[in-house]
Subunit: 458 residues, 2 copies
């Protein structure tokens, strides 16, 4: 009787095992050639850096078989980034968009891309171009779900960041000048993003001269309605986050719209952009500054062709590996109509602005830019602007150099002068990592407390 029971149990167990193995084999996928790369990526991702850093598969000093080292956030150190450096100055300078990093970590599965060793080795895609058709399609879809730009009757062009596209656009528009005529003037209204000036001055073309502020030009005698003029309109503006319109018009004026920041994170989407030449940057769309990817929407075919020629002669298009990665990322964004990422990013910035406003509300020495709320077609409600940067003014006459005041308080911003305006302004980046932001707030609080003490002691 006992033996019979044992036999029955044993046979049942056999059946269970058999089912288990059959079931596993039918549903678990066995990785073959991709497994090495996958394991390495998972290994790197599993390195604990105390929430103050991360390890990458291409980390420095990585030895075969060893885990990659932690790369710590600013002011953190130690093997696992657990040590906070005391008295460490905070970097609020560059617009490194790491505020979106936590989003992509949560989307690990959907956003990963495996690049095979033989991925698109050719110079061209099947259609003979340097651009992935699949990627172009998802970019058009992205604008349609966000409602920030019209893509109908527009050519799409890719570049190594909007940096390359800006140079291409300026080049293309200045070429329309005949060789005997004076150089076209490049203008932007103050405060403006420094890159426009830097590029124009560095390339030093026969056909182009950076001329500075568009308002000054408009009110000067030199605005003769015949000199070729190119105005760059940054909207929302870098540094101050305001929606901007072109200052100049006329048959001699061409306009480039830099819409890098026209995403629901930073600004209400008031109307779909419908311009001649618009530029966008992945850096401020998904946070991938390091991927060096941007795109342009171009109405005029001949301008598009000239920009394409520029891209060909400077780099023969954007890396196909990068295009594959960007496709994967934007597919994640559009899948739910941007719901996840734009809410995450906007909520993060909203909270940061609340904290920031609270700190500055105690100050009379420093003031922040003010922008009236507007209706956002994306969030379907009236909302505040939550710009990528705080555009801070030092109000006291004795604080002439605002950048230096902050520098002394161990906060590195970006000098107002860089944006063509006065030294009484400084730009503070709010889109960096949470560590950087928290640190910035701590330092700002100290600065404002000092102000309070000073006021008290008078």
């Amino acid at each position: 009787m006992e033996r019979k029971l044992l036999l029955t149990v044993s046979i049942i167990l056999n059946l269970v095992f058999t089912f288990h193995i059959l079931y596993r084999n039918s549903t678990t996928w066995n990785p073959t050639w991709t497994s090495r790369a996958a394991i390495e990526a998972e290994d790197a991702a599993s390195v604990s850096c105390s929430g103050h850093g991360r390890a990458y598969v291409d980390g420095i000093g990585l030895l075969e078989g060893k885990q990659p080292p932690c790369e710590c956030n600013d002011c953190y150190t130690g093997k696992d980034c657990s040590i906070l450096l005391s008295d460490c100055p905070v970097n609020a300078n560059s617009g490194d968009p790491l505020f979106l990093e936590p989003f992509w970590m949560r989307q690990a599965e959907s956003s990963a891309a495996l690049v095979s060793g033989w991925h698109r080795m050719s110079y061209i895609y099947q259609d003979g171009t340097y651009m992935s058709e699949a990627l172009e399609t998802v970019i058009r879809k992205l604008h349609s779900v966000v409602g920030n730009a019209v893509t109908d009757n527009r050519f799409v062009i890719f570049g190594s960041g909007s940096t390359q596209l800006l140079a291409a656009a300026v080049h293309a528009l200045s070429l329309t000048n005949s060789s005997s005529s004076p150089p076209a003037r490049l203008l932007a209204s103050i405060p403006y993003y420094a890159m426009y000036k830097e590029q124009a001055e560095f390339f030093d073309s026969v056909h182009l001269k950076f001329e500075g502020d568009a308002f000054v030009w408009k009110n000067s005698e030199r605005d003769d309605n015949t000199t070729q003029v190119i105005e760059v309109v940054t909207s929302p503006n870098n540094p101050d986050g305001k929606l901007k319109r072109a200052v100049l018009d006329g048959p001699n004026v061409k306009t480039i719209h830099d819409y890098a920041y026209y995403w629901p994170y930073f600004s209400p989407i008031t109307v779909p952009a419908d311009e001649e030449l618009s530029l966008f940057s992945l850096s401020k769309t998904t946070g991938h500054a390091g991927s060096r990817f941007g795109w342009g929407l171009v109405k005029d075919k001949s301008v598009y062709e000239k920009m394409k020629r520029y891209i060909t002669l400077t780099s023969m298009g954007v890396s196909r590996t990068t295009q594959l990665h960007v496709l994967q990322l934007l597919n994640v964004v559009v899948r739910d109509g941007g719901e996840n990422i734009f809410h995450f990013g906007h909520e993060t910035l909203k909270k940061r602005w609340e904290t920031l406003n609270k700190v500055f509300s105690r100050s009379t020495r420093f003031s922040l830019q003010k922008i009236k709320p507007e209706y956002c077609n994306y969030f379907k409600k009236v909302r505040d602007f939550t710009p990528a940067y705080a555009w801070v003014k030092c109000e006291r006459p004795e604080d002439a150099n605002c950048y230096e005041i902050f520098k002394e308080a161990k906060i590195t911003g970006r000098d107002g002068k860089v944006f063509g305006t006065e030294e009484s302004f400084v730009r503070l980046s709010l889109i960096r990592s949470q560590d950087d932001f928290d640190h910035l707030i701590d330092m700002l609080k100290k600065l404002v407390i000092v102000e309070g003490v000073e006021a008290h002691s008078i």
Copy 2:
């Protein structure tokens, strides 16, 4: 008795199952967040395209859950690329380096790279630069194992293909001119790669003028030993594969060495390059033209800094995704001292040249470039040159336009004129896919047979 046997068998089976499961669990890795990307990549790789095409994960018209479509080699069509188009012209124009694609397909496991959604989102690496230190290290190692360039006391700089670096180098060297002096002259000896001329003419800088042939300049009165001169030396040369030396020297001369083809596939490695400014291209190193990656070795710090500034203002460095992929590829190359890839690539080209020489040996109408064998420090023996291109001369006076003669025979080469020389030359690419090469040989045979018939009929 029977029951006892059954029980024993059953228990043994249970033990086997138990071990099996335990063993599996301890040695088989269970992919988690990387599995989706890995499955997609393996799915795409498993699509059969009859050996005449391939499917990519970012294929056009890819619908979720469906396999990506085949992208067929030239002259093949059909859903699985099994149909050969009759009377199809062969493309022997561009230097698309697909001859190395089979190598990377065999190295599937070691060359795959998994890019996480949060991979290096920042503008900068940990050290504040735009360049992966790990990648720089492997590039130095690559030159050391191949013996084709000295990297000691050299700065390494990355670009979006050698295309961008060439523009950066020319810009940097022309800037040394004072603003009042006449523009620097850009020269190359004929036949030369057309990009040098095209870039200089397109950018139309105040500081630079393309002047054509270096020999003509040397023998002209304008070679006054004071005008700033930049000579580009392509060695092995594109189009003819010969090792080239600078034509000009003197205190007013700066030289850029384009070593894109200085790899054991194409040429004996006679000596490690030890120049002021050398450029290399991933396209001709591993065959990844689509990855748009190149690097330069620069001796002079101020030239390096100017080139860095150029790269910053045109693209803020090379995509970090691309740098990760390139690191993986070059790690595979250097792991065995280049043994596998250089033997594979060289053998492929050797066979192609044997076939080509055989076809042309029957012809008096067409001739190929001849280069004397030299000792190769990499293969440790005297070897023939196996250039990337056949540089074909049409010998008959009535065949004045060689490109057109080949075009009529349905072979698209590249016109000698493009390289600054006569129309009696045409360049045929030998580094494309095996299908393209086989097709080229078929068409060439027909052309040479016609010649035989014509000769016979005279």
